[in-house]
Symmetry: C2
Subunit: 107 residues, 2 copies
DNA sequence: TATTAATATCGTAATATTGCAATATTACGA
DNA sequence: TCGTAATATTGCAATATTACGATATTAATA
């Protein structure tokens, strides 16, 4: 065993979990924080900023991208990565909805 | 390789990542959702509610507990699990702070 | 003090994630 | 079109996570 039993949960539950998974690795958090700090789009300069290899950064970018959180435009030879703000706000809303609904009725 | 390079990130970055990790598994999300729905504390009844074995549930509870998100009181033979609301709100605040600071400055 | 029910821990197998070197692809400019 | 810089993909090794059976622990009760 070892695989998650994904079929026993509601869609909402798995949604929240896979959403949180994007943010569950410090490299991905750092990438998003770096994107936020920049005045313009980011390219391969993240590789030097964060201390990971280019393939590893690329993999993490893909995870973030697969969640729909990035917009990529080609700028010369490099790809410009921006945040998909709309999608990001959707994420925040869904997550806060979960957090707000999680309460305690005793103790 | 395979281990996360935790030493290259800022404390804030790793904090957010480990916070998100708690919610990154559907079983843990489901457990928290179940706690919220109950009128009183929960005991071993979650085992039947979620389709996982007792040891597995116990492990997930420990992960949530290690994050400081639970309060456990003994009630007879069983342990009563409640949400540590204060800690939970701290989590929400930290996470929202990150989400709110994550913006796009181009495109 | 046994018995019993509830929960935790241990050991282990299966799978997932992380990370990088090597290589491929892509798109611009000479 | 050929070279070059930027990014993506592949393949693989190391580690982490998930899950459960077996067993230990804990605390109430007979």
């Amino acid at each position: 065993m070892g695989a998650s039993k994904t079929d026993i949960y509601s869609p909402e539950t798995t949604d929240i979990a896979s959403l949180a998974k994007v943010f569950s690795h410090p490299a991905r958090v750092a990438i998003l924080q770096y994107i936020s700090k920049q005045e313009s789009c980011i390219c391969n300069d993240i590789v030097e900023e964060i201390g990971l290899s280019q393939p590893t950064i690329s993999q993490h970018l893909q995870v973030i991208n697969n969640a729909g959180l990035l917009k990529g435009n080609f700028k010369g030879k490099s790809i410009c990565y921006c945040l998909n703000v709309k999608r990001f706000q959707e994420f925040q809303q869904l997550f806060n909805q979960f957090l707000n609904n999680t309460t305690s009725n005793c103790c």
